[in-house]
């Protein structure tokens, strides 16, 4: 009897405690940010580094774009440029010498002035082989840069010079229309020499870092969050409305969506769970807009039968890209009939890929394969990922049904996949490319013979000559013409197979204002940054609206 009452008593006690716990839980109310304007942003994976020169990956770029500022800053409403640290500038008639006049009130977070010398230090550091920046090639446009990088010339010979404290002269190898676009990129931001030299690798830690952008880092917890607050010394501080940005580090797409849906985050970028797309797409908070990137397959042009351009053409002709993107993937991707995304301003493709099964069969026969079932089994290699598997399956099935080609698909873990690609150990391999700046050359580089990115084994002398000559063009029209001719060679030879263009997809709460694209009209009117950089300088939060939103959704 005693035993019974003891255990019954204990059980009841536990039950009551648990019940009390649940009853005491009530719905969370809107977090009290103390009347401050705080943007809660889901930023994706952990930023690999906060050193602008060494910048790597989108999550890091997003944070850096908000805490550093270069000579020019990006105009988020169209991806163009606006004055940044440089107030004014002039360009020489030959388009090779740029003189920038820095504003006197541009300051570092430690109170010191941002000087022309800071830019000299930063640009030289980017090309210093000892620093080993993977962004070094972006600077090759500067005079002597490639030679400096190969250590054939000294760092001092680089085409960047401080004429005085506030005047910076940049000399280019060749004139380049996209140079202003380059200057808005993170690696072109100045870095604080004294701090970098004092703390070495550790200079990007929150307690050491010195920056010059609209926000400054105050806290960073690995794989949790990075907190940036408004920088009171920023020259344009009156235009900055947000008091704080919290960048949450979360790499699981489902978790990101739950954070957004439970109102813990105001902004969600980089990866929406594919399973959620059917509902998300109808959501007014969802925005998908063109992104400077392409999803494509590499052909190993060193291997039979892929060494035959006609065979490669036949594969492209047999595809049905539109049903892949619209019916299978259903995430708003845009079928790619060219390598260069059509949204790149200043460019228009002259030749587009077509799809025609009859023509595909004819070309296959012409290539020497009248009976496609006799072609050896080809394998599509992709890095392990649900979407890549889906695409590979659809394409393999399509080629089997319309052409009779036997295609196997094979996944490999990321680094193994990269290693095999690099060593040409594949037939067809999945690949993706995000352009560095808004200019066709960032895509045309993919198949240039000497390019480190060319894993196809394809080499075409005519293409190489055209590609090299692009850099010497002063005339915009002529330049466009050359680029078109180069892309035409790709379309005709197909060392790689464009499949679709990615979109940048974001979810934004309605009370977050001034974040482009603000709505579907902005997308139609190209009011967005095709590099999708998430710059929050001009963003603000309507606190009244936010309150109402919380009340309604609760």
């Amino acid at each position: 009897m005693k035993r019974k009452s003891f255990f019954t008593g204990l059980s009841i006690a536990i039950f009551v405690i648990t019940l009390c716990c649940f009853i005491s839980c009530s719905k969370r109310s809107m977090p009290d940010d103390g009347g401050k304007m705080i943007l809660h942003s889901i930023n994706g994976a952990e930023a690999a580094t906060l050193d602008p020169t060494l910048r790597e990956g989108s999550p890091g770029t997003s944070i850096l774009g908000n805490i550093f500022e270069g000579l020019l800053r990006v105009d988020t409403s169209n991806g163009g440029y606006l004055p940044g640290v440089a107030e004014k500038w002039k360009v020489s008639p030959d388009g090779k010498t740029y003189t920038f006049f820095l504003r006197s009130n541009a300051k570092w977070t430690n109170g010191e002035a941002v000087t022309a010398q800071d830019f000299v230090y930063s640009y030289r550091r980017a090309l210093d082989p000892k620093v080993a920046s993977q962004n070094a090639s972006l600077f090759f446009i500067l005079e002597n840069a490639p030679e400096v990088f190969k250590q054939e010339k000294t760092l001092e010979s680089l085409g960047v010079k401080a004429l005085d404290e506030s005047t910076l002269e940049l000399k280019l190898q060749n004139p380049a229309g996209y140079f202003f676009n380059l200057l808005t990129l993170v690696p072109f931001c100045p870095i604080p020499q004294e701090t970098v030299e004092k703390y070495k690798d550790q200079w990007t830690k929150p307690e050491n870092i010195v920056s010059n952008g609209p926000f400054k880092i105050v806290k960073r917890v690995l794989n949790d969050k990075t907190i940036a607050v408004k920088n009171p010394l920023y020259w344009g501080k009156d235009e900055v409305k947000l008091d704080q940005i919290i960048f949450y580090t979360t790499d699981d797409n489902n978790t990101k969506l739950r954070l957004f849906e439970s109102n813990l985050a105001d902004f969600h970028t980089r990866g929406i769970a594919s399973s959620a797309y059917p509902q998300i797409k109808k959501h007014p908070e969802w925005r998908g807009y063109p992104y400077l990137s392409v999803y494509y397959y590499l052909f190993n042009t060193q291997k039979e039968p892929l060494n035959n351009p006609k065979f490669r053409q036949a594969i492209s002709l047999a595809l049905d890209r539109k049903s892949l993107t619209d019916k299978v993937l259903q995430v708003g991707y845009i079928p790619a009939y060219s390598l260069i995304p059509p949204e790149v301003r200043s460019y228009e493709p002259s030749a587009l890929l077509t799809e025609d099964v009859k023509e595909a069969k004819r070309l296959l026969a012409e290539a020497g394969y009248p009976d496609p079932t006799k072609v050896r089994k080809l394998t599509v290699l992709y890095n392990t990922n649900e979407r890549h598997r889906q695409v590979a399956q659809v394409i393999a099935h399509r080629l089997k049904t319309v052409l009779g080609l036997d295609i196997a698909i094979e996944n490999a873990e990321w680094k193994t996949y990269l290693d095999r690609r690099r060593h040409g150990d594949y037939d067809i391999a999945r690949a993706g490319w995000i352009g560095d700046f808004e200019d066709p050359s960032t895509f045309l580089d993919l198949v240039y013979t000497k390019s480190q990115y060319n894993d196809t084994g394809w080499s075409n002398a005519q293409y190489d000559t055209l590609f090299e000559s692009i850099h010497n063009m002063t005339d915009a029209k002529e330049r466009l013409h050359i680029q078109q001719r180069a892309e035409k060679i790709i379309v005709e030879n197909l060392p790689l197979l464009p499949i679709y263009f990615y979109i940048a997809d974001v979810m934004v709460k309605p009370y977050v204002k001034n974040l482009y694209p603000r709505n579907q009209d902005d997308i139609k009117n190209r009011k967005y940054d095709i590099l999708s950089r998430d710059i929050f300088r001009d963003v603000y939060i309507d606190l009244e609206e936010k309150k109402k939103y919380w009340e309604q959704s609760n």
Partner: protein, 308 residues
Amino acid sequence: MLGYIIRRVLGMIPVLLIIITITFFLMRSAPGGPFDSEKTIPDEVRKNIEAKYHLDEPVYQQYLRYVWSIVQGDLGPSYKYSDRTVNSIIGESFPVSFQIGFLAMFIAVTFGTYLGFIAALKQNTVIDYTLMSFAIVGISVPNMVLGPILAVIVGVYLKWLPVAGWGSWEHYILPVITLSCYYLAIVARIARGSMLEVIRQEYIQTARSKGLPERVILLRHALKGALLPIVSYCGPASAFIITGSIVIEQIFSIPGVGRYFVQGATDRDYTLVMGTVILVSILVMVFNLLVDIAYCFLDPRIKLHEKK
């Protein structure tokens, strides 16, 4: 006793060295390296980076260099997070995993044991069947299913608790519940089985026949014996649970150490993987030692003396 512990601790050193050696060479034999990415870096740059981390030296030399730095307590720099060392990464993330793991294990052991004992004492009644059915559910529903379900119901629909994140006490609740369910169910089943066995032992019957009250029999005599299998299960399990779970950390976005086992390996962040492997190895060995020590307190038949 002290001599025994010292001997065991000394015995860990060669074991650890073997683990380090195997892991080191296994990692190096995997294709690809820490600095491979889709945006290939020029060879000049790669050479510079590799020289900076001594990756250009012969493997045996790298191995010796690594072992020497471990002896000095330095786990090396992380290749992925260039401004951090492995020591600082583990130092920051292990306490997080430890807290969650400790709470989950505490709940699993206390509730699991308690419920298991109740089931045993009420064997073949509705209570027994109900509890054991729940235990089966707890074991068979993986936490990658349970976690998101809890997050959606409690976080998204009811908005009682945050769905993910780290920072306040509220952030502990869902991950701890998710993590503890499986262990709670296992402990409950072990507890039920061991209690059933113990209460049929002769010494319990002796106690009963002496007319001792049932409560004293259970708490003073049966409990100790019934705890043995639970202790031996919980030792190694604790080592794994407090070093984090990648599933829980991903679902609830927790900055714990669990993710680095997988991420470190996929990134070929050699030093980070080595660091996490060393951490788990040490913990497993320490917990096994603790289990052996606990045994001799719970079961008077077990002695830790050396065999003569």
